[in-house]
Point group: D2
Chain length 359, copies 4
């Protein structure tokens, strides 16, 4: 493990960072954030389809700021071009490439789902491919930064969580960790995401005229691939499996995610605010809103923060949790950099402190 760096001043010996698959939205978000990070320099960007182009051709927002060209990712010599890699390539491909990137001692954060699930059969069931390197599943650490901080620090390979799981597991963790959730009541999760969560690839479900002025539930009835990831972690937290009811929905907005979770607690005197504060009061990126305040992802666009709110209905006893974040930042690339900071020994917040853009 690397020693801790102080990042108040510009580092002289910056870590060289490569992004495998830099042209999608999570790749672009990594670039946006890393370009402000005091401890790294971006030395490699790969793309299969856009190799040879400049990054500003794909992201005009980088015009005159980042002057880097894209390279093919299949060359052997990319390994020497960076000390630390982010993989932002599709499911199934990351698991094939990871051993190569790890082979020379580099460390890797994978933003795909390829190392999130511990059970290799899940990849066949949920992702419909045979995992290429199941042995790595055990070594990979699930990168929910606040929960697995210590393991992440030591990891060579971190499996960055999905956006839905991040927004759902953060509020649930204290409740399951303390075994407060009533297992006789199904855990109901009504989750809403901005359209950027479904990526830059063309799809009728992301076509402007089909999305705007509507709300589209999809993959309902236990079909969404984030379900095994959420259930795996709930079992990790509490020691007991609990099936969830999960309703993902696409909203007519670009960034942002709001998960609304309904559950019951076992009869026990608990002050929810105290509980959440005891878990997250010192966390830099997780903020517990005062009772009555309700999170809105609009406040968090472009930031690495997660806002958590909660309310208990006196008549039914149902507890409602609200969890908001930016699906591309804390839900993907921001958390990936938070994990890199932990792995390298940077301050955990390095490059990630700007607040969300509002309005």
């Amino acid at each position: 493990m690397s020693p801790s760096f102080f990042l108040g001043e510009k580092m002289k010996n910056k870590i060289r960072v490569g992004i495998i698959g830099a042209t999608g939205y999570t790749g672009g978000e990594l670039l946006r954030l890393l370009s402000q990070h005091p401890g790294v320099q971006i030395t490699l960007l790969t793309s299969e389809q856009s190799a040879g182009k400049k990054i500003q051709d794909l992201f005009p927002s980088m015009t005159g700021i980042l002057n880097i060209s894209l390279e093919k990712g299949d060359s052997k010599d990319i390994i020497s071009k960076a000390d630390f890699f982010f993989m932002a390539i599709p499911h199934g491909m990351a698991s094939k490439m990871a051993p190569f990137l790890l082979s020379k001692g580099s460390r890797v954060v994978d933003l795909s789902a390829d190392f999130r699930l511990k059970n290799k059969a899940s990849y066949l069931n949920w992702y419909h491919f045979e995992h290429a390197n199941p042995a790595l599943l055990k070594k990979a650490v699930y990168g929910l930064s606040e929960i697995y901080r210590n393991k992440i620090r030591e990891a060579a390979l971190v499996a960055n969580p999905g956006c839905y799981p991040t927004s759902i597991l953060l509020p649930l963790f204290p409740l399951f960790k303390e075994n407060l959730v009533d297992p006789s009541f199904p855990l109901i999760i009504d989750a809403k995401s901005g359209v950027s969560g479904s990526g830059r690839a063309l799809d009728i479900r992301s076509h402007f005229s089909e999305v705007d002025e509507g709300i589209g539930p999809y993959k309902i009835g236990g079909k969404h691939r984030h379900i095994p990831e959420i259930e795996q972690e709930i079992e990790n937290f509490s020691g007991t499996p609990l099936p969830i009811v999960f309703t993902p929905q696409l909203l007519p907005m670009v960034r942002g995610m709001l998960s609304v979770i309904y559950l019951k607690l076992i009869p026990k005197k608990i002050f929810l605010e105290d509980l959440f504060q005891s878990y997250y009061g010192n966390e830099p990126f997780v903020k517990i809103l005062s009772p009555g305040s309700i999170p809105n992802p609009k406040n968090l666009r472009g930031s690495n923060y997660c806002h958590i709110g909660f309310i208990k209905d006196s008549r039914t006893g149902v507890v409602t949790l609200f969890s908001a974040l930016d699906n591309l930042t804390k839900g993907a690339s921001g958390q990936a950099i938070q994990n890199m900071n932990l792995m390298i020994g940077f301050e955990e917040t390095a490059g990630l402190t700007p607040m969300g853009i509002f309005p």
Copy 2:
């Protein structure tokens, strides 16, 4: 009760219709729909603040189509200017005005909440005013057209339902009517509305820059005024009260509502599709989607249709209902006209058959 008219040809003696409060969004939607209705002519539009102006000054969409000026609503002679009235004025005002409109034998559909609740104490608790005419509460018929069709036909005063209650009660009715809902499981309703549902009055919660690219839950924790309306009807359907957990949320879209309802059924062999079809298969405006299809209010903008979908999760036994409509049409002015059609004896669908605008 009037005899039934055939509306395939233009009627010679059209019903004269007045709209009390014509300048808000529900007033404008009444005008849009009534201007195409074969059996009515609009003879009176009132407004307190815009009296003297032309309706096209408030709604440029009506330029060159509707050439009517707005009048003050407090004059005694408005009663002679129409045979049928819609009230689209704020809560508290409608209950004061209704007796006057009814006094000469006119019939009235009230789009406010003033006659929806049977218990006058509820007005004090939820709306914070003393009801001006509690005796009328008993006479008023709750205007959920598909459920109370026969009573509506005979009514002098119809209390048009709220948008959330309409979208929620339609899918719930068959289940509660057949006593299929497991009362030990709280009824959870996660509902999303377009911003037009909060009206044309200025409010920071409807300010474009505050709303766009976000999702705002509001009045959570049992505070929304549609709760007593929904619970009153659930008790009417099944004979037993059942408290609900209700999470209303404003989405960055103008029109449209999607209610997602989570519940459990008692153990009994039921085919949900058959059940819904038996209740709604012949309804002109309620459509049961085939299993696997999920409603999206985007398909229903400007139309009087309600789309219902459902799915049962095999692992948890939870049933999820999806109900989509346009909050200004089936959720307000469209249903108000449907009720007028019933009251007057027109074909129930008169003026309401156009499908939603897509995309």
Copy 3:
């Protein structure tokens, strides 16, 4: 030419209408409008890729309203299934299919560009294909309903105008017809369109996350294919060619088009309002706004109306024209039906009178 029908009552012998290419946005808009048309019945819908499916699978807005299945368009027997055809298929394909549809005496409105330009060389220059049936170019009538009404009545084949040309030519017609435009001043057109104008086919330029919260000029510098169409008609109106500067831009909205046109008039005493009223005062679908009122396409969604406004700047003498419409209705399918009404002898407004949805 057919005799004129009175459409106040439902017709007994409805015209059978077929839509060639029914699954795109203009096809869907034709269906939405024709389903309310008193004089037609839809008897044929074709699609190459979705043949065999029900139309409601492509347009859930039609669920339970239109129960028609899609057929392949390449069969010989489609000619016998309808009396009147709309072609809503891509450029280049329509010119190949038109002779077949016309061969048995059917009449056709083509929504593609294939018959809009009189000069066959323009197809090579602007659309990059060799026109398959240049002889038909002379017979086809350009379907700007208000301008070419009499020719349209007699036509067997009508070339329905593009959305930009419709919105631009309607306000320009009186000025060029009266030779009032100063030719020494370039005609500048800054035009904004909703994203539905670029169709249902997948394209990164219509991808929600790329479009929302931005404004994208495209094909600037004289590259947009509507330029030759606009310039051809300007020359038709005035007898003299005048090149235009055209800046099309995609806005983050689904429907709607606003063209802002800057020009100078020759020195002559003209009252613009009188001029516009003399040309359009009796038109059912073109409305001249009072001076100071500015059109907004928001007021016209789903309607066949076009709103025109104008202002003269006293200091520079520049006249600014504003023209708003719905690109899918008056800009495409609504005008196509208006043209069908003229061709068949229906009332010109049949099926097209509903006002726009607002808000």
Copy 4:
């Protein structure tokens, strides 16, 4: 003038900054950016209506990040609480308050219009108030950072430009400075702004349901208050007045501005790209796009960059300029901080280097 600071490391003696009027959108944007600025600490926030509240009550995006309470702005002792002031209060109020803030040697950037115009009569004509301190008009420096950099460094009071003028004057400056613009051709500016440009105050023109899915030209015909500001600077640049035609339009997006400018150049051999590069090639925040690339404000949200594109139409000789920026950042608060950096002697880019959020 202060000495230049190196900002690579955190400064020990930070400048104390106060924001007069911190609760609107420009106030919030100042806060967002200043909270990341290495050389300042925020020591004073004032608000008339929200004094006593915490800033996070007004901006939940600052929850747990900025813990400051709002104070009344009318107290004498605010002058001692900061070394540098931003005024983000309404027109008419800033001119009254400025002398007080300047009296103890503090320096001030005013984001209102109160010191932008040199001619005090203009305030009566365009803003309808008698200027309270016309003597200060001469001392105030117009804060278009790239153009008046040297004067800004020395100024005690900087009048921060309006958003439209910033986006319009930056591309025009080189052309007018070199006297390349043909004065016989009117300067036509078709400008589009996100709704946040009209502020946080409630207004029907910013009401979500009125704005979304439309485009609203407003204050056309020479009525917008940014006209005298633009014309004053054009005359400053070239020495000759030239009236403009200005069409401001609100788009359904929160942030972002695109100005499209049409003009003719005098006949002279000019390579526009070279010209723009010679003026802006070394500017940190103004980027000249390569020919054929067109700016889109979507790429610049939250950033201080301005993207300029241009094209010359060969047939008409008209040159079209495109200028994109974020109206709240480079169009207001970002440029205000850029000016502060110049005034204090910080690196001009301090706190302002992050690129725009995309998508």
